[in-house]
Symmetry: none
Subunit: 223 residues, 2 copies
């Protein structure tokens, strides 16, 4: 694994070339590779799971209320990093996120204290870490604006088109419950809107999921 970690870290960490061999070893020796089944929990909002590098798969970051309501903040895809799961690394982050594997996912994890130890005396690492967090701030703001400001038809159209693009298939194999959860909406609302879309010939709803029929019309809704 050593070479594998080294290879990946040298690609994703802009500071990799500037740290000592000793620091590199410390990071690699303490890294773990974990595979998550689709649907499993990667980080449950408590403590500091460490800095997660997603080699392959899809992770969903979300916040959750006491009653179990969820808001999806953003998704991570192949080659992306999760800093918010390592709240101990960034002192200024005081909120808890949850992370689920939306697909079978392979991750490399650097424990928070290990990462912090190396970052402590290295301003390049500090800057990289903060910049990664701040760029997610922008993603989250976007999600919030979607959720608050966009009408449901627009949001649903955007969601269906995004999913189709992401999976490379015009059939979105998700239940209405799942779609509602990912959109931060209620199942009844999504169900009603899908019925409307279907009556307008935009989609076809079946047990298999939602099939996009008229992509052009759906796109018109998103502008």
């Amino acid at each position: 694994m050593r070479e594998e970690y080294e290879k990946v870290y040298s690609e994703i960490f802009p500071f990799w070339k500037k740290i000592t061999e000793e620091d590199k070893n410390y990071i690699c020796d303490n890294s773990t590779a974990i595979s998550y089944m689709k649907g499993s929990t990667v980080h449950d909002g408590n403590g500091c799971s460490g800095v997660i590098f997603l080699k392959k798969g899809c992770l969903r970051l979300y916040i959750m209320s006491d009653e179990g309501k969820e808001i999806t903040l953003y998704r991570l895809h192949n080659g992306e990093m999760c800093m918010l799961s390592a709240s101990c690394v960034i002192g200024a982050i005081t909120f808890d996120v949850f992370v689920d594997a939306e697909e079978e996912s392979e991750c490399y994890i650097i424990p928070g204290p290990v990462y912090s130890y190396i970052a402590e005396n290295n301003t390049d690492i500090k800057i990289f870490t903060l910049e990664t967090a701040v760029s997610r701030f922008s993603d989250v703001m976007w999600a919030i604006q979607q959720m608050f400001f966009m009408s449901v038809d627009k949001r649903l159209a955007v969601f269906l088109l995004d999913e189709a693009a992401r999976t490379g298939s015009d059939t979105i194999s998700l239940t209405q419950d799942q779609i509602a959860k990912y959109m931060g909406s209620a199942r009844e609302v999504v169900s009603r809107m899908l019925k409307y879309f279907s009556s307008e010939g935009l989609v076809e709803v079946s047990r298999k999921g939602v099939k996009i029929i008229d992509k052009t019309a759906l796109r018109r809704l998103t502008v």
Copy 2:
């Protein structure tokens, strides 16, 4: 004004002592002091208004939809700084915020390009800037959670009113730790919510405990 700027900047910028006299002069010579009337717009979401230091008053940061719907992200009080109004300073911030003066406010403004120029070759400034932005990320997440989940404020209001009724006193002589424990919540959550209640004039928080100021408004929160 020169001495005035210098005095304030040396207090708020942890990097002030480490930059050259030339850089200090460059920042001070390009700073402007602006007073805003209550209700006026400080930053309208477009472009880069610069780094704003709020000497006195209250600024509200919010996002706005095309239809004019608003979400308050957080408020700035005496002595605090606004980095989000200077999107040109932090490349990773790609969303627009609006800033209004909620009270008559005195501000010192450093133009974005001036601040960026000094920050460019100074990692201390970069780290300070990013850390300021990330800590606001936490504030924003808190506001979002309040707005979506709406349970903690309700629970805290219920708790305070119950305690007042039980003890026959409008002052709840408990630590924030104790309140959190009784509510089954986290101290940070309670502390933040009390700060919010206090800013809204519902309670007064002191070493003695929490004093209820506006019982009617607090009751409204519980329904």
